[in-house]
């Protein structure tokens, strides 16, 4: 059973309709170059931990958010991350620990998005833990692939085409802001 949901999560993230998720992960890692892969890995892991926490909390009904609030929060977190990228020109001035905490917190919010309706569909008492766990793991796998593609593109742009690393950060962040603003407006 876990394999089915693993594939479901994986396909879900590597899909154009999950554009908000893809953008968030790319934006989160947009400041870093291939040489800083360790930081990127920690960031993605922090995001994963946030996801998993939400998973546990929502299964046991510890927290309950109105779905509409979560839907609005997701684009807001993306815009926030992108703005941080744009404002902080000197990345050495940022404390990494704060960024890791932020990624974890945002993971929490993003996890709520699908935990909510999956819980309603699958039912609370009927062994929901395994499907949700599988789904989340699949999503994480997909995220790592997205980040790897982003880093590869980043590497080509910087080292082959000799483009200033700052361009990548700015372009990814601006796209993220435009798309997220659109999503927010559409949600009303």
């Amino acid at each position: 059973v876990i394999g089915i949901y693993l594939k479901l999560g994986f396909d879900h993230i590597l899909n154009l309709s999950a554009i908000d998720h893809i953008l968030f992960v790319l934006t989160l890692c947009a400041v870093y170059t291939v040489g800083e892969w360790k930081k990127v890995l920690i960031l993605v892991t922090a995001f994963t931990i946030g996801h998993s926490l939400t998973l546990g909390l929502s299964v046991y009904d510890v927290v309950h958010f109105k779905p509409s609030i979560v839907e609005h929060l997701i684009p807001i977190t993306i815009i926030f991350t992108a703005l941080i990228n744009l404002w902080n020109k000197d990345k050495k001035s940022q404390s990494m620990n704060v960024l890791y905490a932020m990624a974890c917190f945002f993971g929490l919010i993003h996890g709520l998005g699908f935990s909510n309706y999956l819980k309603e569909l699958l039912g609370k008492e009927e062994g929901i833990l395994v499907p949700l766990l599988g789904f989340n793991l699949g999503v994480e796998g997909g995220q790592i692939i997205i980040v790897a593609c982003g880093m590869l593109l980043n590497y080509i742009l910087i080292n082959v085409l000799n483009i200033n690393p700052r361009y990548w950060t700015v372009v990814v962040s601006i796209i993220a802001i435009i798309v997220s603003t659109y999503l927010l407006v559409k949600l009303g």
Partner: protein
């Protein structure tokens, strides 16, 4: 637009550093615009139509879902009774019956239950040992944004049945990426299937 990009590339190659930098800026701007427009037109978020008529509704739909799945649980309650639980998203169900979520239920349906019965009959076929069986509709229960429908199959002898075939075309016409999960648990034997537009059938063999 494409000519503009080509000219910009040519200019950026010919000119020296200062102009090249300006050209990069210009190219990036165009890229950002094109990509954003594309991403936006991908219609990432589904438009929510509030359901107004309480007659068709069991609940007020407030949230969207971007995962297109349904789950069917087939469980043996005793050796001669099987319960089939169908879990779908309600707006998907309504859309697949050619209706718009929020619109009035057409008079050809006696009520929401009737709509659900037609939905199930149209999209789900069961057979045991190559003999078609018609489950009896029991009830539906809604929990925003999902709906659960329970069907029952009576008067069978599971100890004599060798295989159960499930043909599932639920919501395949509504979403390209629809995945229909089927979980079977009969006589302590468990199996799960992931069905989609390529694989519509599941065959469960009972070992005796």
């Amino acid at each position: 637009m494409s000519k503009l990009i080509i000219y910009t590339i040519i200019i950026s190659v010919i000119t020296k550093n200062y102009f090249r930098k300006a050209a990069y800026d210009f190219l990036l701007m165009i890229f950002v615009l094109i990509f954003s427009a594309h991403a936006v037109s991908a219609n990432a978020y589904k438009q929510i139509v509030p359901l107004e008529n309480p007659n068709i509704l069991f609940f007020q739909q407030t949230s969207f879902h971007d995962i297109h799945i349904s789950v069917i649980d087939i469980n043996a309650i005793s050796s001669n009774k099987v319960e089939i639980k169908i879990k779908t998203f309600y707006d998907d169900l309504v859309t697949s019956m050619g209706l718009i979520p929020g619109d009035k239920l057409p008079s050809k349906y006696k009520g929401p239950d009737d709509l659900i019965i037609k939905f199930v009959e149209k999209n789900l076929k069961f057979s045991m040992d190559n003999k078609a069986i018609k489950p009896i509709y029991a009830f539906s229960k809604a929990s925003n944004p999902a709906i659960w429908t329970t069907l029952e199959v009576d008067n069978i002898d599971l100890n004599k049945i060798k295989e159960i075939k499930i043909e599932n075309t639920l919501l395949l016409k509504v979403h390209d990426d629809q995945v229909n999960i089927v979980n079977v648990n009969i006589l302590g034997q468990k199996e799960s299937y992931s069905l989609d537009s390529k694989t519509k059938q599941a065959l469960f063999k009972i070992k005796h």
